[in-house]
């Protein structure tokens, strides 16, 4: 905040370069007629939103949730279920996504946040799996097979996202908004409480913070942001199924956060880029690309403190 604008630009040039690339990408993609890469980038950005939301509780708050993909599912079903009843109102769907995710986070958070350590990990996992099996068992909404969404969210004449390039810019705007929000939150008074509770919760209580309600609020915000990602995902894929909230999807989100560097603003986005990059490039070469991803994760767990983002900072000599 205190540093001057040129300094700020110099320190954060990769971020600004990234934003420029994201904004210009559709032009290049249209010019060379490669719509496939538009989809790749959209998926990347949506996952970056989800991973950033997870980073808020995991990286900054020390709450290791292994059930975060449930909010992608909730957000996506908030598009799919109304669409099933021919309700395409974007405002309604968005409110359902954010509200549904928020309520689920609030109710499960009240129980999860009473526990610590490994219990917290397993309980978040179990609650997510509960939703997974619930949607599997609701045959009305396709059960295991999921639902096809025939039209995207409708914002009237205001903004038509049937056009994929417009949807792309909506996704990009949501990502930037998410990053701004996370940046402001973690540096605010509220953010201090969350980070302090990660660092030393007994001490936080001893100086007088009712940490539970702050952590709960953070948990709900994070869930809602991920619900936003789910809403975008539902619009993007045009198809939803319980598989979106399978716990291995949550594992992938954790992998993205740690790969990119947990507790850093851009880490999750970098992690999502690495993940999607590997998927896109390696999957061309071999159907067994998960093997290499798996080995990478094991190596990062052992040697890659701070993830790839941490490595980058070490290279640049910044602590």
């Amino acid at each position: 905040m205190s540093s001057s604008t040129p300094q700020y630009l110099a320190r954060h040039w990769p971020a600004f370069a990234g934003v420029l690339v994201l904004l210009a990408a559709p032009l290049a993609i249209t010019y060379w007629d490669q719509p496939f890469y538009l989809d790749v980038l959209m998926r990347l950005m949506i996952l970056a939103i989800a991973a950033s939301s997870l980073n808020l509780i995991l990286g900054y708050g020390g709450m290791i949730s292994l059930g975060h993909s449930v909010y992608i599912g909730i957000g996506a079903y908030a598009v799919g279920i109304p669409a099933y009843y021919d309700q395409y109102s974007g405002v309604l769907q968005l409110l359902l996504a954010l509200g549904g995710a928020g309520i689920f986070a609030l109710v499960t958070g009240l129980i999860c946040l009473r526990t610590r350590g490994a219990y917290f990990i397993m309980i978040t996992l179990a609650f997510a799996q509960m939703m997974y099996f619930t949607f599997v068992s609701i045959e009305e909404y396709g059960g295991d097979d999921g639902l096809v969404i025939y039209a995207r969210s409708d914002f009237g004449g205001l903004f038509d996202v049937e056009n994929s390039i417009r949807l792309y810019y909506l996704v990009a705007a949501c990502l930037l908004l998410t990053l701004l929000l996370v940046h402001r939150i973690v540096n605010s008074h509220f953010g201090m409480v969350i980070r302090g509770a990660k660092s030393n919760e007994p001490r936080m209580r001893a100086v007088g913070f009712p940490t539970f309600r702050y952590r709960l609020a953070c948990y709900v915000i994070s869930g809602m942001l991920c619900g936003l990602a789910g809403w975008l995902m539902g619009n993007f894929t045009g198809f939803i199924s319980p598989e979106m909230m399978d716990w291995t999807r949550s594992g992938e989100l954790i992998a993205m956060v740690i790969l990119g560097g947990s507790g850093t603003l851009l880490g999750p986005t970098i992690g999502a880029a690495v993940f999607i990059g590997m998927e896109t490039v390696l999957a061309e070469v071999t159907v067994y690309w998960h093997l290499y991803l798996g080995l990478l994760l094991i190596l990062v767990a052992k040697f890659g403190r701070g993830g790839l983002g941490g490595l980058w900072q070490r290279i640049r000599g910044v602590r």
Binding site: M1, S2, R184, I185, N187, S188, H189, F190, G191, M192, V193, R195, G196, S199, N200, P202, R203, M204, R205, A206, V207, G208, F209, P210, T211, Y214, A217
Partner: protein, 253 residues
């Protein structure tokens, strides 16, 4: 004597049949240093945990500033002006020294459901934190990473974090533990200054510290208070001599 700040009545807590606190009663008044001494395992730290709210008593009551706080959670007690330090240093190692203290200041400045403005722009917070660091003599390098400070500095930082909450009563759990002679002297000087406007309950092993500043001493053995009185009276108490078997007390007597 004015009305006690802290009034503990018949407090008991046992772990699997072993009484760590048994029918403990004691008081701390404003402006007083009340020291708790006793051999290892006497239940001193259990007493601090009970008072701070980390443990619930099996029976008995705790009144603080005229209000019963026996069932109150830790943070609510802290909000009411009951601050503590930890026997084993408990700080935020990833934060700067001033950041550690600012956290404690922030806990008592309104609520923290403030999501947008950066905390770094809150000058009042930093100002107040610097003042407290000054009080304990840590103001020369406020932006140093707390994790990299020495043990002696950690003890002072502990103290600063407790003070930053503007407490009416300080619970100090061995503030001088592991300090060298000079550091101990500095700590005693700080405690002397502090007693003027608050009550202090001091758990301490270092008898020099205890006899240098305590107004009243309670001796605990196996969860019980076997004697309470002025330092002079405690020195001369036969029960206390027996419990300690001459350890420590003679040197300072």
């Amino acid at each position: 004597m004015n009305a006690p700040l802290l009034e503990v009545s018949a407090l008991s807590r046992s772990f699997g049949g072993i009484a760590a606190a048994s029918e403990l009663s004691l008081q701390v008044v404003h402006g007083e240093v009340h020291a708790i001494i006793g051999p290892n395992g006497a239940g001193k730290t259990t007493l601090v945990s009970l008072l701070a709210g980390e443990l619930r008593p099996d029976s008995g009551s705790i009144r603080f500033c005229g209000e019963t706080i026996t069932a109150m959670p830790v943070h609510a007690r802290a909000q009411r002006g009951l601050a503590r330090t930890f026997q084993i240093t408990s700080i935020f190692p990833e934060f700067s020294a001033v950041g550690n203290v600012a956290m404690a200041v922030q806990a008592h400045a309104n609520h923290s459901f403030r999501f947008w403005r950066p905390v770094a722009a809150d000058m009042a917070l930093r100002q107040r934190a610097l003042e407290v660091l000054q009080q304990v003599g840590l103001a020369d390098a406020p932006d140093r990473n707390a994790g990299e400070m020495s043990h002696g500095e950690h003890r002072l930082l502990e103290m600063a974090m407790a003070l930053a909450t503007r407490p009416a009563l300080l619970l100090l759990d061995e503030p001088a533990a592991g300090l060298g002679p000079e550091e101990t002297t500095a700590m005693v000087a700080i405690l002397r200054k502090l007693r003027q406007d608050k009550g202090i309950l001091l758990v301490e092993h270092d008898m020099d510290v205890v006899f240098a500043i305590a107004d009243r001493i309670t001796v605990m053995v196996s969860g019980r208070a076997i004697a309470t009185g002025s330092p002079q009276a405690i020195r001369e108490d036969d029960n206390v001599r027996k419990a300690y078997l001459g350890e420590g007390l003679h040197e300072s007597a």
